[in-house]
């Protein structure tokens, strides 16, 4: 075993022994010192001609009882002041929720009132883009309709006037014709004045009568002419008014639909202006209430382990509450206006994963990036570049991806937000392949979820957590050091090489294989086979029909194997000392560690006087073979 691996073996074992001590720099330094000492001792022994296996055993034996060290580490003050435990934490959280909820209701009511106020005075339009807010208050259609109605009334009146004028003109024409006739009659009568006095007298009477009728008709004609003149004047006025309205209507139709607050204020009537101001006041009041809540929260929870942040912009206001506790999630309270939220909103909910913003095309600056989240359906490949300061390069079907970077250093890669991509991604139909080149340095996590895509991780990165979830995709990886490896799949296979402090792998039918210096290992499958090769500190495995194969160059501190029909084949260092408890219904045990009988349903064997560690092997029908290396 090369030196690097030996160091890892010692570090894993020491870490395990000190597992009960609180995590902190003091513990980390102690682990490193003890690891160095054991490695020095091992090297000295090997240099003195001691067999490497024996040297390892002696070095580990020199570690001694670590309980006192655990107690010492427990007694240390925390390196940084930790939040004081709050016995009334639940009560505080309840109070906070109540204060916030009350404010939210008030804000909601204020916004509702603003909306109603605006609705009563016509329609409104509010848009927030590029940090500006534009409001158009008043009913544009109503405004136009009013003009059109007025014009229509004028048109009607003009038409009526025209009819009246026409009627008068006809009447005048009739009277004029009658006058002509009367004049003719008068002329005829005057021509017939010659003759007897009696006849003359009669004619003169008729002439006088005709003259009176003519005078009357003339008077009537004069009156009609006067009325006609008036109607014509009125018609002219109506025509002018109509032309003015037409001009205004045409101007209205030519104007841009989007108008500024100022421009609208000039044009809208007084009552709509008032409504607009009232609406603004309500919005300001709602924002003020939210700010008041923030202050209350800060006062109520002063010196308590969470902070409150307020963010106000043109489209509204929101409060973020960060409890600073892993068990509690951040909460966001917000009010405002957002078209995507359907207009006015007042809501609260959990803050999920930090604020993020889209990443522009091209390389992504890796500075302050701590982890990568990838959620795609295609293959995902991680590669390493040489320099720690290199950018992150994303290759593949990048046009179909939404790449975002959060303010807490997480790069998220997911399918684009088009309707079609969401639809297809949701059904596992769309496949998007991604290759990520990461700079060579320590990463907090690489998390991947995919349906059928295969995942490949290779390089000299140090990663604290690799978490992969697939339906049928395989994970193949090799890293020199990984804090924790999590793999979950229905039918995908796992093939991992490297040193891992903690492995958790679960599958239904996929095969799981891990090789390297391994700390705590938990593996389970229904029909898939499990395979471990290297140095295993502790193993818990379970399978229904899958077989287990283990080869460990160090003696595990714990071995717990449960299987129904699957067989187990375990190879351990020849000098391993342990107690074996084998329970089975029909399985057989074969071992060269013990001389005792290996037949029966419940077998207990020991080569260390019944002391720890005790290995538990339980099968229904599966056979177990535990042999010396």
């Amino acid at each position: 075993m090369i030196m690097f691996e030996m160091r890892e073996v010692f570090r894993n074992i020491i870490t395990k022994r000190l597992a009960d001590a609180p995590v902190g720099p003091a513990k980390g330094e102690l682990i490193e010192e003890l690891t160095d000492n054991l490695l020095c001792r091992y090297n000295d022994l090997v240099a003195a001609g001691v067999d490497p296996g024996e040297a390892e055993t002696q070095a580990l034996d020199a570690l001694g009882d670590t309980n006192e060290l655990v107690e010492y580490l427990k007694s240390l003050e925390p390196d940084e002041p930790l939040p004081e435990p709050d016995s009334d934490w639940d009560e505080l959280m309840k109070n906070m929720s109540e204060i916030a909820r009350s404010a939210m209701n008030q804000a909601r009511n204020a916004l509702k009132a603003a909306k109603e106020q605006l609705s009563e005075n016509g329609s409104f339009h509010w848009k927030s883009e590029d940090g500006t807010v534009e409001i158009q208050v008043g009913n544009r259609d109503e405004w136009t309709a009013e003009l059109e109605e007025k014009m229509s009334g004028l048109e009607e009146r003009m038409s009526e006037t025209e009819d009246e004028i026409s009627e008068l003109e006809d009447k005048i024409s009739d009277i004029e014709a009658e006058l002509d006739y009367l004049q003719d009659e008068l002329s005829d009568l005057q021509d017939s004045l010659e003759g007897s006095d009696a006849r003359v007298s009669a004619v003169e009477k008729r002439i006088a009568s005709k003259q009176r009728r003519i005078a009357a008709k003339q008077a009537e004609l004069d009156a009609l002419n006067e009325e006609l003149e008036q109607l014509r004047e009125e018609y002219g006025n109506l025509e002018c008014e109509y032309d003015e309205l037409r001009e205004e209507l045409d101007r209205q139709e030519d104007e841009d639909e989007s108008v500024s607050i100022e421009a609208t204020a000039e044009r809208v009537s007084r009552h709509t202006e008032k409504a607009m101001n009232t609406a603004k006041e309500h919005i300001d009041a709602a924002v003020e209430k939210i700010n008041a809540v923030a202050k209350k929260l800060e006062q109520a929870f002063k010196d308590k382990p969470f902070t409150v942040g307020v963010d106000v912009d043109d489209s509204g206001c929101s409060i973020g509450v960060n409890p600073h506790r892993k068990s509690e999630k951040d909460v966001i309270y917000g009010v405002g206006y957002d078209k995507e939220k359907g207009g006015f909103f007042a809501q609260w909910g959990e803050y999920k994963g930090g604020y993020s913003c889209p990443v522009e095309e091209g390389p992504v600056c890796s500075e302050a990036l701590k982890g990568i989240d990838v959620h795609v359906n295609g293959d995902v490949t991680f590669r390493m570049t040489e320099h720690p300061e290199d950018d992150v390069i994303i290759d593949g079907d990048v046009d179909d991806l939404d790449v975002r970077r959060s303010d807490d250093g997480v790069l998220t890669i997911a399918p684009g937000k088009t309707a079609s991509s969401s639809f297809f991604f949701g059904r596992g139909l769309s496949s998007t392949n991604v290759t990520l080149s990461l700079p060579r340095r320590a990463w907090e996590f690489l998390r991947v979820s995919t349906v059928s895509g295969d995942i490949s991780i290779e390089g000299n990165h140090e990663v604290s957590l690799v978490a992969v979830k697939t339906t049928s995709g395989d994970l193949e990886g090799s890293l020199p050091r990984c804090g924790e490896l999590r793999f979950k799949s229905v039918s995908g296979d796992l093939d991992w090489r490297g040193n891992v402090a903690q492995v958790t792998a679960v599958t239904t039918s996929g095969d799981l294989a891990v090789a390297g210096n391994l700390g705590e290992v938990r593996m389970s499958s229904i029909s898939g086979d499990l395979r471990l090769d290297g140095a295993v500190t502790a193993l818990d495995s379970g399978s229904t029909s899958g077989d287990l194969w283990v080869r460990s160059y160090v003696q595990p501190e714990r071995l717990n194997v449960v299987s129904r029909a699957g067989d187990a084949d375990i190879r351990l260092p020849a000098d391993s000392a342990f107690t074996l408890r084998f329970h089975t219904a029909g399985g057989k045990l074969r071992t060269d560690f013990f001389d005792g009988p290996t037949e029966g349903r419940e077998i207990i064997l020991s080569n260390n006087g019944g002391a720890a560690p005790a290995y538990e092997l339980n099968t229904t029908g599966g056979d177990v073979r535990i042999q010396k290396l």
């Binding site: 010192e33 000492n37 000295d44």
Partner: protein, 111 residues
């Protein structure tokens, strides 16, 4: 020859301080020197050694610092303080007295 582990365990602090009276050193080397001086008969378990280091450090008898090895693993060196020297002298004097008493009590030489 069997040795009384309990007897020696009672003097762990004095044994370590005696090593540091010879100069600053790191954990593995201190333990190695102890084994060399006892011809491999006695040496501390790592856990015992480091528990003692922490105890002595908390009592102000020793201090520690990271060495600069240039290459290879960095090592933490331990150094005895003035208080540690005084404590070692007291402990040593006590042991001299105890040893004289034990010699007188256990020895069966003719008086």
């Amino acid at each position: 020859m069997s040795i009384s582990a309990d007897t020696l365990r009672g003097h762990t602090d004095a044994i370590i301080l005696a090593q540091l009276m010879r100069g600053d050193n790191y954990g593995y080397e201190i333990n190695k020197n102890i084994q060399t001086r006892t011809h491999g008969v006695y040496g501390f378990k790592e856990a015992t050694l480091y528990t003692a280091f922490k105890r002595l450090e908390q009592n102000g008898y020793i201090t520690s610092y990271w060495g600069d090895e240039g290459q290879g693993a960095r090592r933490r060196y331990y150094s005895i303080t003035e208080a540690g020297r005084k404590y070692w002298e007291e402990t040593r004097a006590e042991w001299e007295t105890t040893r004289a008493l034990l010699d007188a009590l256990i020895s069966i030489e003719e008086e």
